[in-house]
Symmetry: D2
Subunit: 363 residues, 4 copies
């Protein structure tokens, strides 16, 4: 009972990596939003396995079928169910998982919690689960575009292992991100990252890194203190993604080494609104968006599946070793970029609807 | 509509810093839990203003009245309402806030969102709001102690500005934390932190820092993938606290610079359970507790209220300067320790009840 | 964990009949709604014990204190906590309940469910719990009045035991209802009801009856199919009130004896909107309000507390007899009228906010 | 945003009558429940159109595909998604609905609420939507059977128009209900009902009626006062079904004509538990099950779709007449019996899990 996200724009995902398919039901999407298969397919392609030489070679077309909630190209206001069939599942590759706990995977905890698990793959703990999130995120983007045409959400890889990119957060574009198969818009760093990822894959190892996400032109007033502060919901959304280990917003952990006199963002008058001279707050103050850029970073650990021999134990408690076969990503970050954007869109869309409900001044 | 936390152990806080009082209603507390005023008062005292020379000097006795849900020293299974009156409010000290936006405070965003705000203090954005959380956390601890007598939750200050403490996470005790008024169990670092805080206050400035929290002997199996993963709910809880800018679990952001072969935690057989040789996972795998220590860190920014002149604008858009009067903490971390523990207790208690619901094998 | 009502206008009640007090926290009330103590007090007076010769003589002033969420006569958009102290509790009158199950009361089921109960009164099962609902309903009415100035909610007693009133649903006014201490606007029936209630009380017995409620000028479009249909939420709200046994909307149970050709409501053009020539639908079609009058009836059983000797058993399983002392209502209906109106206001207010969230055409 | 039912056993339905299909996602089903396609198919067959001469002749095989959440015949504890394709949709039969409001249907209110509707059928307002509920109800029954092997849920038609059946609630069996195509276990009444339904269909008209449902051996202690009382959730569940107009539990509306001395249920000692001599309470007291039979009745209006000419208006406001083509049920009650049982199973299953969560005494 933890597969629903959002209060008003409610997303419920389903499906294991091996089985009938994965998907999502979106309840609460406003009616009369123009929506097409290609809106969804475009985002799924960015998440798709096998999209480049540095991702897993599992071949999934990830074709989305919109089962309900749409009529003549517009949303009906009723639940939108989207299904993506699993096609290239190879359960036999997972035979060894049946009786062995893969280190730093969820095999053991799923078995311990539920007393059963689908050992023919990662089940719900597989990144394949995020298909439903990304599809729903595409719908959320359509709603946001209808409400606030200027909103932009752009995520990008800013660090892989020791390679840090230089990216100007204020000018980076979605297009520039997509130029790089690692989704790092710093050409120089991108090339180094690709090289390192390929080398690491050849060594049977894996890499972690950091994704930054910026949301521009978010209207002032989104976020519901005290528990559903905007950054709290973003943090929850990000930490619910597979392989994430950390979240920081605005100044983040660096704020811990600053003084108030340095960190405070002075207010200043803009042409059409109140702004801040600096933006250590990350576009959110007191849990509510202030109109400045919202930006945050998410830490991803190195992929747990590696092609090296590792020590572990069997389900029966015997010491053994394991070497992953199967296909996997040596570095999840390139494919995680659309996931981070999707969760951001879900949070912003949900909060936009929540704010509409109480903003009686509006109309 | 964002003042409730938890699915089964549901906590709804209320109250502004200036007004009738602050408090909480806990719905979903199991019946027949022994609970006394002192359980709650003890935690409130740790959060209380004026508790030491390095905190704000606002004098609030923070006496909690349990209004309902208790009978002859035991919980009834009905809502537990707890009220703490505001006593030492000094609205006149906030007169200047009426028409001026305090930098990096929530005055502006509350006004923009709601079209109204209680300018006689921080309102809901004040740390005073956390009284309800800490009171509820004390109740959650009692439930956890009943279900899992060995569970321990210990948070401590591990860094203030540039001063980092050396603390052995595996052995640190609640008692050792309470020996230090800054709640840093490294005596040497603690002394330096106190000195720095006093010096900074004298300079009219403020400091940030990092709190680490460890939860020991948490049963295996807590956490509800995919959105209500245990770390996702912890992240949300922490980022909903005032002044927080980041959250990282286990290896955290350091994981981004590691390889899978280094980061994976090998499983190994323990006497009574499956364990891991290392614990970069931070006690959670796939969103579910694995029986190892859960540990995470929370970044706090420097207090926004400072006694220095700052540039800002008035509500009418005029450039002006502001210098805080009022009483405030030069560094929120000492008082934030019980808040972090309270949110941790709330998350663990809620997930413990959620797991009971579906664990049919149990009985 | 069942003490919250509503999705966006969320009401959480607390408190037992004997203890510190009863009350409510309202989360999700829009900001800048004018609200005063007297708005709340007025409704509480209609619910108050001891208001007339035909109600219980328990003397509770039921003075409401608004603890939070209000500033200078307007709502802040933050949680509104309202507390009413218990004053005239006489726990000693309930001494006999300690070891005896009162027939058709909730003593036994609370004890069985929770393993504990506050035997010094009805606890949460007491009608005293509805203080919080009525206070919240008063706030909901203020929100509705702001959004839709013409909305009217009027409930009235239409039947006590065998005495049925003749009331014109389309013209009945709140004022006419309040003219009668039994809250039946048919003068003739009202007089008979009062007589019967007094006679029945003298006999140590009690009476049931039916309340009808009409909501006029409810905007078209409220209700969220398929589970949160407007009538489904009304039904839930009414059946959650103490002593209720049934709910019917529009034609209700009489519809079961009609043919489609009789029951269907022909659409017709009105000046400013689409209307229906008849209104067997009760103002709701497909779970959504259609602009016609919403009307429904609620069945109340005779009060369980009677001053006659009744057969029962002790908590130890011994057969015994019981005769209620304590003070009680011989017929709950007069005081239930404001409760029915309050639940109606809560449902309509919640759905009005929900509809605002998705109605993008509005602005 | 009203397509989810339940707090812990959470059911989200999706799908329109004309489109890709209808279905459900169940989140919160405990793991390791034995479940097969035939468990679900059996219930769907009872709901299926075209099952007998007195139902609509739409031919839908209603074959359920379990897309996720199942492994080797057992639930995984992850979301169970079930899809039923629409096959015999004939959108052309609904061409006339495009521009005409069908009386007492939801065409007008859906259009008014959402500004759009799928006019090629009833959309979400079609009884076809209940496929997802019935499929989920079948899963809920499996969970209940695992937790409480003796629980029985039996619904039956007790009245069609003026024909009332005589049925002994305490002994009626599911088998005896299924002997009759109208699902009335009184042979004599059943024959008359069938005759009346056929005659009425020939006349182009439709009929309403009443379904009674009894739940036996429900454990003591289910129900969460004060808003989620067991009868409140049952009422909500029933009133969310298409064509329902009323709900009454136990003595129901008849209670309004009784005195307390008649209506109160004396407690008495049973061999293994506390019982009541009479059961006017309907198995629920104070919102909590007391171990006696839970029984309630649901009123269904006559089907709105009739083959007679009716007065109505066009979407443009012109007066017109309408005569339904398409296929429809002259009386929904036979097919509504499994829907009532399904909603009952969903409510009981959800409350059983909720009670497990807080019942610490259990283990």
């Amino acid at each position: 009972m933890g597969n629903t996200f959002g209060q008003l724009f409610r997303v419920t995902t389903f499906g294991e990596s091996h089985g009938g398919g994965v998907g999502v039901v979106i309840d609460g999407c406003p009616p009369r939003i123009a929506l097409s298969d290609s809106d969804i397919q475009g985002e799924l392609h960015r998440r798709r396995p096998g999209q480049s030489k540095i991702t897993t070679q599992r071949k999934e077309p990830d074709r989305a079928e919109i089962l309900s909630g749409l009529f003549e190209g517009q949303t009906l206001g009723t639940p939108i169910a989207i299904l993506v069939r699993n096609e290239d599942a190879r359960p036999e590759a997972y035979e060894s998982m049946r009786e062995t706990w893969r280190p730093s995977h969820a095999d053991f905890t799923y078995e311990a919690k539920y007393g059963i698990r689908n050992w023919q793959g990662g089940g719900r703990a597989s990144a394949r689960e995020t298909v439903g999130r990304v599809a729903a995120g595409a719908v959320a983007r359509r709603v946001l575009a209808t409400l606030f045409p200027k909103v932009e959400i752009v995520a990008y890889v800013m660090q892989v292992h020791e390679i840090a990119a230089w990216i100007d957060r204020r000018t980076v574009t979605a297009n520039s991100v997509e130029q790089s198969i690692v989704r790092c818009p710093d050409e120089n760093a991108s090339a180094k990252m690709i090289e390192l990822i390929e080398k690491t894959r050849a060594e049977g190892d894996s890499l972690g890194g950091t994704i930054e996400c910026v949301a521009r032109n978010v209207p002032i007033g989104l976020g519901e203190p005290v528990f559903d502060k905007l950054e709290a919901d973003l943090a929850r959304g990000m930490l619910s993604l597979p392989a994430t280990k950390g979240f920081e917003i605005g100044s983040g952990f660096a704020a811990t080494r600053m003084r108030g006199s340095e960190h405070n963002d002075p207010f200043e008058k803009r042409e059409d609104r109140v702004g801040t001279a600096t933006n250590f707050s990350g576009g959110i103050q007191g849990g509510i968006s202030n109109g400045e850029e919202i930006y945050f970073r998410v830490a991803f650990k190195p992929t747990a599946t590696i092609a090296r021999e590792q020590r572990t134990i069997t389900t029966g408690g015997q010491t053994t070793t394991l070497r992953a076969r199967g296909r996997h990503d040596p570095c999840v970050l390139p494919r995680a970029v659309p996931m981070v954007e999707a969760m951001t869109a879900l949070v912003l869309c949900d909060h936009a609807l929540r704010q509409r409900a109480i903003d009686l001044a509006r109309a």
